[in-house]
Point group: C2
Chain length 202, copies 2
């Protein structure tokens, strides 16, 4: 997502691009995606495109119907949304709690970099960039846990929250919320950090 980021495989690159377009609503819920179109667009054969489709399906961004192809997934219904929020809070607070005492200076400086990106995105009113860096911020927390499996558990839940969603009136609030999380961590105030994190997830 970050433009300089290097992806290992072809399907990953394609998936990253499509994910960005779904999260930024360039692709809207229900839109069909054709294998041939995308393979021509990316200059590859249908194989890698199919695999990118499977990856995004696993993340909940696309929906697959056998013999019919994929479409952009619908947003979670109003009924299910509170559940998704609860699940995501459960995972992220679990991780923050369990790593809190082991947070390193490197972790902090990395998170500060992301926070700076969030600030820049807010100031230039760039919603797409904000979505990207918001995601990176929370990803970074999850990934700081030793158990890599947690990320696979968290991703589909978080993605469902990130789709076409904008709960804030003032975009700068996003920066403030993330700053509050990081400030509390730096102050060593676990309770405040967890509270700030829960506030940010809704």
């Amino acid at each position: 997502m970050s433009t300089s980021e290097i992806y290992r495989t072809l399907p990953e690159q394609i998936a990253a691009r499509l994910r960005q377009e779904v999260l930024s609503s360039k692709l809207k819920p229900g839109d069909p995606l054709r294998e041939v179109d995308l393979s021509e667009r990316f200059g590859v054969s249908r194989g890698p495109v199919r695999e990118a489709f499977r990856q995004l399906t696993q993340q909940g961004l696309l929906v697959l119907e056998p013999n019919k192809g994929v479409r952009v997934a619908q947003n979670p219904s109003v009924e299910v949304r509170p559940l998704v929020v609860r699940l995501r809070r459960t995972i992220e607070t679990f991780v923050l709690k369990s790593i809190f005492e082991r947070i390193t200076a490197d972790d902090l400086s990395y998170w500060e970099d992301i926070l700076a990106d969030i600030k820049a995105a807010c100031e230039s009113n760039d919603v797409d960039a904000l979505t990207e860096h918001d995601l990176r911020f929370h990803q970074a927390i999850i990934r700081s846990h030793d158990d890599k499996d947690l990320f696979a558990l968290w991703q589909p839940i978080a993605m469902r929250m990130m789709m076409h969603y904008n709960r804030l009136d003032d975009i700068m609030d996003s920066y403030r919320e993330h700053k509050r999380i990081l400030d509390a961590i730096q102050a060593g105030d676990k309770t405040a950090a967890l509270d700030a994190l829960e506030t940010n997830i809704q």
Copy 2:
């Protein structure tokens, strides 16, 4: 899994078979899976096998390393396991709560059928069959919710709990626990049903 069950696609059939072998520990954590081996075994080309691998990866049963292939995933660590339990309880109780008033006679008779299978598996001490029907029981509850997306959210979490796990000393306890859930539902006792469900998930 149920022998008469019909799968739509080739990859689904392959995935179902491999899932059974992982859940029954015929395939053990860390075991590598080779595309050619399995394509020969199932009499298909590597394509459908690859896709089955992707499906099982999404369910958390396999782990994929680019250019290196897939291996059977490790069990969740003792540290993460309580989180997985909490997530699964959150989803299943959410579903049971929200469908409780709309449960039909058809639902109940279907669940009773599965309970009978569970009983039979317990009585013949068939752990593999028990795992299968245990899964079917909870799947049936999740699937009774209108929002089909819930299943995709639930599956990877539930699968991680089902892997190589056997918490009960007496296998018949599994039957008793599921019977308690169904009895409470039939009695219309929501609180008791939710409590029985939580007891069963650990």
